[in-house]
């Protein structure tokens, strides 16, 4: 009797656990089923390398994703090149340098920032940050790649800091003591022992930060100006994959080529984030298994 109940409960829990798998598969199938039909009508080469994105052109709709890929790339590059060093520095500062009082303030604060909705960041970028940048650089496109990059960096910093901080804190106290007991200074200990032994955790943090940046929608949507052109000036307006989907989906006709092409963009985006998340996951998992 009791073993019957036990079995029933186990099966019930199993069903719940399977839901995530079903959802992922559903997303997969759905994206592909909605996106792939477009390839019959538009070549994948033109999609990936086409420089024109004019979906609503009556004459000849163009679905070249390159401007969006470029936009995503440049914004991401700016964001990462700011957030990685800053994130690591802050993580090191919090976990190794700050005294306990500073730490007590900084840690929750950073966590709090991770919870702030992206639309708020976006609004800040749109109104305040853009003005600041404009005043500093004198550019005439208020909303531009730099603006988006900076706001994304700020959004990514909490993610990177808290994960990297975890990784650094997880370095056993014994390593620190061992190094100090050998007559190393604190800084030497950080550089030669702590950072090397938490490197994979930090790498994971960076990759997850990267995933967050690439997949971010609202902030870039509001901060970058959304011009679908390839431009090498970071002070020019750009448009990202995510922004394109967000802007165009509400207006698209269901089942149209444009609709399908939006799903193609989603597949592209998905592929990128999937790849990075997968690598991050691999690293994190190895970390967990070796117990460092």
């Amino acid at each position: 009797m009791s073993s019957l109940i036990e079995m029933f409960i186990e099966k019930l829990l199993l069903i719940c656990a399977t839901i995530s798998v079903v959802v992922v598969i559903l997303i997969f199938i759905f994206l592909f089923s909605q996106g792939v039909p477009a390839l019959g009508k538009f070549s994948i080469i033109d999609f990936l390398f086409g420089g024109q994105w004019q979906p609503t052109s009556i004459i000849k709709p163009e679905f070249g994703a390159l401007p969006m890929i470029w936009g995503t790339m440049i914004v991401t590059a700016i964001a990462m090149s700011i957030s990685i060093p800053l994130g690591i520095i802050i993580a090191v500062y919090i976990s190794e340098v700050a005294d306990s009082r500073e730490k007590e303030i900084l840690k929750p604060f950073i966590e709090l920032l991770a919870g702030i909705p992206s639309v708020v960041y976006g609004f800040f970028a749109l109104v305040t940050l853009a003005t600041i940048i404009q005043q500093l650089t004198g550019t005439n496109s208020r909303l531009n790649a730099l603006n988006g990059g900076i706001i994304l960096a700020i959004m990514a910093i909490p993610t990177i800091v808290s994960l990297a901080e975890d990784a650094i804190t997880a370095v056993p106290r014994e390593y620190r003591e061992a190094s100090l007991a050998l007559g190393a200074s604190k800084w030497e200990t950080i550089r030669s022992v702590i950072l090397p032994s938490s490197i994979s955790g930090i790498l994971g943090a960076i990759l997850l930060g990267f995933g967050r940046v690439v997949g971010e929608t609202m902030a870039v949507l509001m901060a970058t100006g959304n011009a679908a052109i390839i431009n090498f000036n970071i002070l020019d307006s750009v448009r990202t994959l995510t922004a394109t989907i967000a802007i165009e989906t509400p207006e698209v006709a269901f089942g149209s080529l444009h609709y399908n092409m939006l799903f193609m963009l989603a597949i592209l985006l998905f592929a990128i984030t999937f790849t990075f998340n997968y690598i991050a996951d691999l690293i994190m998992r190895r970390l967990r298994r070796t117990g460092r």
Partner: protein, 284 residues
């Protein structure tokens, strides 16, 4: 002072200055919202519908919409999420199947929110014909929240030492008895924390619901699951980018943003407080 100490001092000062600048910058950001939003946030603003082409009045429908969406998300995700976590931690044995579930969860967590939106739009709104509605939005949000709830619950369960389970089993308790009496209660604060964070995230999400649940202007409150709604995040987005007179409504936008910020921060603080209390309490 010798060279070693000198070098260390320089580095540490650079680190301190960097950290403080970033923190100040973020404080500045939060301050702009307080500064610009505090003026408009009052009782009317919170309880009135938007008026005069949204240039006046309040954000009541948006607040209610956000609450509805959030509550529904909780109802969808928490039972399934906690159950999944229990299965994974307590029952599943390492192996292919668990690997599949685990990578599904990490994947799901990594899917950009806009894709959840697009997926929700295509599946719930269009294919299943729920239309732009609370249901579609909540479902889309749930997909996004599910992995968060699962991970948090899983961490909480994993943090309960194996020895508690062994101790109970060795006394002749069954597995479920063990989980119910000697695992779940200790994991509960952790699960709660994770859930609150997930909820806060749901409350602030924009991209998924913008495609599935919300309207630019819909002053009357939703009466059924299939009604569309307004919500705070999308309201802010619309007011900041789509309104015909952005500059005019900017104070209102600040106000809405401040309210959203306060809601989200409040929930985060609650979670942080619960967690730190629980950490202090927990002695294993």
């Amino acid at each position: 002072m010798n060279r070693k100490a000198m070098k260390q001092l320089v580095y540490f000062q650079i680190f301190r200055i960097t950290t403080i600048s970033i923190v100040l910058f973020l404080f500045y950001m939060l301050w702009t919202f307080v500064l610009n939003g505090l003026g408009v946030v009052n009782w009317t603003f919170l309880t009135d519908i938007p008026r005069n082409g949204m240039t006046a009045g309040g954000i009541f429908p948006a607040i209610i919409g956000t609450i509805y969406l959030t509550l529904m998300t909780i109802i969808f995700t928490v039972p399934v999420g906690v159950a999944s976590a229990i299965y994974l931690v307590e029952y599943a044995h390492e192996g292919r199947f668990v690997d599949i579930i685990n990578s599904a969860i990490t994947n799901l967590a990594g899917v950009p929110s806009i894709i959840h939106g697009l997926f929700g739009f295509g599946l719930f709104v269009v294919l299943l014909n729920f239309g732009t509605s609370l249901l579609s939005g909540a479902l889309a949000l749930s997909l996004l929240d599910l992995p968060i709830v699962i991970s948090a619950s899983r961490e909480a369960l994993l943090s309960v030492p194996k020895s508690f389970r062994e101790g109970s089993l060795a006394l002749g308790a069954t597995k479920w008895e063990t989980i119910r009496h000697n695992v779940l209660i200790y994991a509960l604060p952790g699960i709660l924390t994770g859930t609150i964070l997930a909820v806060a995230r749901a409350a602030g999400e924009t991209a998924p619901i913008i495609l599935t649940a919300t309207f630019f202007y819909r002053p009357n409150l939703p009466t059924s699951l299939l009604d569309g709604t307004m919500s705070l995040p999308t309201h802010i987005y619309y007011m900041a980018t789509q309104h015909y007179n952005i500059a005019l409504v900017q104070p209102l936008t600040y106000g809405a943003a401040l309210v959203l910020l306060l809601i989200v921060i409040l929930m985060n603080i609650v979670a942080i407080v619960i967690r730190s209390r629980y950490r202090k309490m927990k002695k294993w």
